[in-house]
């Protein structure tokens, strides 16, 4: 059996750097607690080198000139942890969620798929880095040894079977513990007093004596130090949730900086989806807004939070962060949040990635990603609900249609339809609609329109030289918006010839309208 462990050192800081990768070269520390009693909870190596230590107060930390201080965010840590799990699950289906900063995966039999263990470990580290998390990876024949090696050695480590005790020997005793707690401190104090400082010395102690002095827990820890434990991993099957969150220290007012943040979130989500060979068909953006209130002559953010949600539904599964960003930008330009943004949630509904085989002899069709962008841009120009394909409604009511999202036929649908010959029918006399319909004054002779005048369209006036009708129709009488009308087809003499119009009399109001022209 072979196991790989992925460990993220300084996890609270990595959770911050996961969304703000440009801070990676700077000294960053994460604060925990309620102001003003905040203390340093996590540090990166750059911060540690400057002399900062855990548990320093915020006031002390602020004395460091180039230090970046961030508040600890449970949401960001869970997003980083989800990225870690996604990374592991892209290599193996058997993944154990060992701790928030550690995952263990069973890689037995994966050599034929991913190559030797050293290559697999390197690939794991690279994938984690792609997902925005810098991690240590260790491969061993035992899950506990792999975990300890990942905690103790930076980078990629491969420990061959039988060499566990020798390789782990030089590591400090701290690597035996996942968390800082009282038990850990007591244990380390005891061993410090005994002069035991590394795993080799601890492993060399007689087991009976350890049992007498440190009890059952001590014996287990010694087995860990020898690399002699044996356990089965507990695989998890986390729900497919692809969500990223950013909590902002300063509220955002402009859409441009928001686009930078959205870009990062989208890239993370797309990387996670890609690791699972998935795409998305629905993006949900939720913004927590702060209402500004006047207080003592200055504008301050009220505590009352309000959420603003936008959902982006795509006709086909897609996986292109740039397209998503542009679509979100266009959507937010059309529907701005209207208040400063304090928190951003972005989630993607996973969907099976589309696989389409184009055909040489199939008619051309626009690329779905490009088409979506074009439609969004056109919507921004002509307004929402003015672009799409028509769906006729099952009614005789005039204007009985609605606009739907335009999704051209897929290659499969085209293949099935393209076999038939073209249906060549006689040409239909088309009607051009006047929207809104034009109000008209009609003079009747023998109950038929004889003279018409339409103030809004000068061409539609004069003597009616021919008419046909009336064609009476009505409907929806059981509803408040019932309708009843008489339709006439009329011909008028114009300077360019004869023009044909559809004239309508609304029977409920008695008014005349010119609805359109036959053309």
């Amino acid at each position: 059996m072979s196991f790989a462990a992925i460990f993220v050192p300084d996890f609270p800081v990595e959770a911050v750097l996961h969304l703000e990768p440009e801070l990676r070269s700077r000294a960053v520390s994460v604060l925990e607690g309620k102001p003003p009693l905040q203390k340093i909870w996590g540090l990166n190596d750059n911060a540690r080198r400057t002399g900062l230590e855990i548990d320093m107060t915020r006031l002390q930390a602020e004395a460091w000139p180039d230090l970046v201080l961030r508040c600890r965010s449970a949401l960001q840590e869970s997003a980083a942890h989800a990225a870690l799990l996604a990374c592991a699950q892209s290599f193996s289906p058997r993944v154990e969620d060992t701790a928030c900063d550690t995952v263990v995966l069973d890689i037995s039999g994966m050599e034929s798929l991913f190559g030797p263990h050293a290559k697999l470990a390197r690939d794991l580290a690279r994938r984690a880095s792609d997902l925005g998390v810098e991690a240590n990876v260790a491969v061993a024949s035992n899950p506990d040894v792999a975990t300890i090696a990942a905690r103790g050695f930076s980078g990629v480590t491969v420990i061959a079977a039988g060499q566990e005790q020798e390789r782990l020997g030089n590591l400090p005793l701290e690597v035996l513990f996942a968390n800082q707690n009282n038990e850990r401190n007591q244990f380390l104090d005891t061993l410090e007093r005994w002069g035991i400082r590394n795993l080799r010395a601890f492993a060399a102690l007689p087991e009976m004596a350890i049992s007498e002095r440190l009890g059952k827990r001590g014996v287990y820890l010694q087995k860990l130090a020898r690399g002699a434990t044996s356990r089965t991993i507990v695989p998890v099957d986390p729900p497919l949730v692809f969500e990223e969150v950013v909590e902002l220290e300063c509220p955002l007012v402009l859409l441009e900086p928001l686009a930078f943040l959205l870009n990062r979130l989208l890239e993370q989500i797309c990387a996670r989806l890609s690791a699972r060979a998935l795409a998305t068909q629905e993006l949900r953006l939720k913004l927590e807004l702060g209402q500004e209130e006047e207080s003592g002559g200055t504008r301050v953010l009220a505590r009352r939070a309000q959420t603003f949600t936008r959902t982006l539904r795509l006709p086909v599964p897609m996986l292109d962060a740039k397209v998503f960003l542009k679509l979100l930008q266009l959507d937010l330009q059309a529907n701005p949040p209207g208040a400063p943004i304090k928190k951003i949630w972005l989630s993607a509904e996973p969907a099976k990635a589309r696989a389409a085989q184009g055909g040489l002899f199939l008619p051309p069709s626009p690329e779905p990603e490009k088409l979506e962008l074009t439609l969004a841009r056109i919507s921004g120009i002509v307004g929402e609900g003015k672009v799409g394909s028509v769906e006729l409604l099952d009614t005789h009511r005039p204007e009985g249609f609605r606009i739907e999202h335009f999704t051209p036929a897929t290659p499969e649908q085209k293949k099935s339809k393209a076999n038939g010959d073209l249906d060549r029918n006689a040409v239909i006399t088309a009607l051009r609609m006047f929207r809104p319909r034009l109000s008209a004054t009609v003079t009747l002779r023998d109950g038929k329109p004889a003279l018409i005048s339409c103030p809004k369209k000068k061409e539609v006036q004069g003597e009616v030289i021919w008419q046909a009708g009336p064609w009476r129709s009505s409907g929806d009488w059981w509803q408040p918006n019932s309708w009843a009308r008489d339709e006439w087809d009329i011909a008028l003499q114009t300077h360019a010839g004869v023009a044909l119009y559809r004239l309508v009399r609304d029977l409920l109001t008695g008014r005349w309208f010119v609805e359109g022209t036959y053309d």
Partner: protein, 295 residues
């Protein structure tokens, strides 16, 4: 009056003079001896561009008259109201959608009637309908070339009312042409007054012509009068009878005095084609439409 044509000889660098009063044949012969100019291909020997692929317009009479609508070119159909422009447009869209091509209709005056389109057997699944809205508050920033024309102080009120729609049309058509992959893009300027339609800058039509070149898209413009001018590769004029009503209308009387509009008798004139290397000649074809209710 003669002028002097001076050409530097590449070998020696010395200028050589030619008098344009010389006979053309003699002048050409002398010019061809200059090594530098001998590499220039005369216009008469330029390679003939391959004829564009044509597609059916959905009407046999039009196809027989024109040979079909060319892909990668701008085709313009014009005529007065009730001359059958929209019927031809719907037939073309129906034919394209039945070929499973994605089509777009930029409806400048929001005049498209889905019921007529359904009767013409348009496959709505493949038709993108863009309804320009004069009251849209989201008008895009104007292009520099477009502003010049549209912001003219002398523009009359009726044409000014269509300015937002025309701006939306130009912008939308640009986007559709850039998106590529559409089989047909139709711009319906049928209800736009002539003065407003002619205010569309010629540069826009050139841009459209360049954008549609070497693509499988048919760019179709329907209007009251030709407005794309030299950019149109194919120009068709639709017309009815001038004064008499009977030849244009096909009327069925059932029984007296009730009458039905069965269809229209129309005429199509093939005005111009830039696709064939022969002098343009006008040709005509008769066309009949039938009312949607005839089934």
């Amino acid at each position: 009056m003669s002028s002097l044509l001076v050409c530097a000889q590449p070998a020696t660098g010395r200028p050589e003079a030619f008098r344009t009063t010389e006979k053309p044949a003699l002048l050409l012969k002398r010019l061809s001896t200059v090594p530098h100019l001998s590499r220039v291909t005369p216009a008469s020997r330029l390679e003939v561009r391959p004829a564009p692929e044509t597609v059916s317009s959905g009407i046999a009479e039009i196809d027989a008259l024109t040979g079909g609508l060319p892909r990668g070119c701008l085709t313009e159909i014009y005529g007065p109201a009730s001359s059958g422009r929209t019927s031809l447009l719907l037939a073309t869209i129906a034919a394209a959608t039945q070929r499973q091509e994605a089509c777009a209709l930029v409806d400048v005056s929001d005049a498209f009637d889905p019921q007529s389109a359904a009767a013409a057997k348009v496959d709505f699944k493949n038709l993108l309908w863009v309804r320009c809205d004069p009251e849209s508050k989201k008008n895009p920033p104007r292009r520099r070339g477009d502003t010049k024309k549209f912001s003219s102080a002398q523009a009359n009120r009726s044409s000014r009312a269509w300015e937002p729609c025309l701006e939306q049309t130009l912008k939308t058509t640009d986007l559709l042409l850039q998106s590529s992959g559409l089989g047909l893009i139709a711009i319906d300027l049928g209800d736009i007054p002539l003065e407003a339609a002619r205010r569309i800058p010629l540069t826009s039509w050139f841009r459209f012509r360049r954008a549609v070149e070497n693509t499988p898209t048919v760019l179709l413009v329907v209007g009251q009068a030709p407005c794309a001018r030299t950019c149109a590769s194919l120009l068709l004029r639709m017309e009815g009878q001038r004064s008499a009503i009977s030849p244009q209308l096909s009327v069925r009387k059932i029984p007296e005095p009730a009458q039905l509009l069965e269809g229209l008798h129309l005429q199509v004139e093939f005005v111009r084609s830039r696709l064939e290397r022969k002098p343009a000649q006008s040709d005509r074809a008769a066309l009949e439409t039938r009312a949607a209710w005839t089934g």
